[in-house]
Symmetry: C2
Subunit: 279 residues, 2 copies
């Protein structure tokens, strides 16, 4: 039994052409989602984000109907092994192309689904939080690509490769101006008194679906989350720091490198509150 399976343009094939622009140039976008009993969690919000991200790269996003049809086929084809739950990564690329950076005037975007098992987290991760290391790798500024979950992810790879110590759950990424931006694989929020703040992602970083859920949910509670410039001093002095993504949801950050961070019931409360918000 393999632990990874994939479906390319609606077929269970073993590979994609190396001329696919996703491979040649990282010319595409992706989402990482939870599959529970064959259902993609928060799919409407993921799809809305896919459409927005594709649009910024001038890729015509495939219809939600086509994607759901291909997912259904994929999940059914692998269902006999009880793989109807797990992690689904969906990649949309500009499709196949000839040599050269210029996109073809018309090209059919490629749809690639990859299924993998749900990661197993220790209970302590949810109860007590996680430790982050500060990445030496800094994010460059590129407003044209900021916020997009695109396939050009070498900065994340380099940042993640820095860590050889399993005590750290993830890394904290800053930009070249010492601004805190995100975790390598998630977004970041801090609580300062009554204020909830998160880094603005107009110059770099990836805007995740759980980040959007945080903004939306707080709005329903009458709280405006401030998207702003944050620095390490804000993280150190915060009442609580959390990271979010679509797989683990909400996690409290209890330590940054060797320094213990603020502990507050806010993080645990958010975790259960957001788990009940579905799109």
């Amino acid at each position: 039994m393999t632990t990874l399976r994939y479906c390319v343009n609606g077929k269970l094939v073993s590979g994609i052409a190396p001329t696919n622009r996703g491979f040649a140039y990282g010319d595409g976008v992706f989402r990482t989602m939870r599959l529970q009993q064959g259902v993609l969690q928060d799919w409407p919000l993921h799809y809305q984000t896919l459409v927005a991200d594709c649009s910024k790269l001038h890729i015509v996003c495939p219809s939600a109907e086509l994607l759901m049809q291909e997912l259904k086929f994929f999940v059914q084809a692998t269902a006999e092994d009880n793989h109807t739950s797990g992690v689904i990564k969906l990649m949309i690329t500009r499709g196949d192309g000839a040599r050269g950076y210029a996109p073809a005037p018309v090209s059919e975007p490629s749809r690639i689904f990859i299924q993998s098992p749900m990661p197993v987290y220790a209970d302590t991760v949810f109860e007590h939080g996680v430790a982050l290391y500060t990445c030496r790798t800094r994010l460059g500024h590129q407003p044209l690509l900021a916020g997009i979950k695109h396939l050009n992810r070498l900065e994340n790879v380099l940042a993640r490769a820095e860590n050889k110590d399993s005590q750290f759950f993830d890394g904290l990424l800053m930009d070249y101006q010492d601004q805190v931006i995100e975790a390598v694989s998630g977004n970041l929020f801090i609580k300062q008194g009554d204020r909830v703040r998160t880094p603005a992602l107009d110059q770099c970083g990836v805007s995740g679906v759980m980040r959007q859920k945080m903004l939306d949910w707080h709005r329903t509670q009458g709280v405006t989350v401030e998207a702003c410039r944050l620095h390490l001093a804000d993280v150190y002095s915060a009442d609580a720091v959390i990271i979010t993504n679509s797989i683990y949801g909400v996690l409290q950050v209890n330590r940054l490198d060797t320094q213990t961070l603020g502990h507050h019931p806010w993080a645990m409360a958010l975790r259960s509150q957001l788990a009940h918000v579905t799109y």
Copy 2:
């Protein structure tokens, strides 16, 4: 007859796994080279650059022996169709990987060769030069990746997609500080009196093999090419402007948008001089 052929890890297969890190994250590097009668032009210099680029991403570059063996197999397998000349794109990626940014402690890098026909250039291109457009897309700064010909090329894709007008051969890329950096698919040099200058590539841009040949050749002539900060005013006022890459060699730039640029026999002379320098 297809116009594109590929060879993956020494086999004539139709695809690569979508879990290959080159596809997932653009986690790899590439070279574009001329193949003439089965021989890769300037291979030693290309290989030296591959090794250096891989090293910056902490990828162990496959041996030159393995790559030449796989190329030979590939060229022989397709030789019956007279495809022993053309363009060879070689991609080296970190190999296959599980989900997540962290590279596996040990992974075998993937080698992908793609063959395509040599582009056909009009004679006027070599005799009279080419026109460039000024890209609205600006390059972001990322010193960790600057100079590397890596697979994260969305900026180039966006910059090339701006142009719908076939009168322009390529685009001129600047960074966010209005510094001229390169052409979308080549490097740039200007002649100002006795000085030869080219943009420094310590913050962004790709350092091509023809650029290195330019620097090396000028050194043998007792001329130091200055790698420095250049602006549009330098381009407009130059005696001559050229772009270089491994496929077309050296081309004079005769126009930037609507403005005619300096014309000087230097460009034509360089073209033939460098054509005789092989590694």
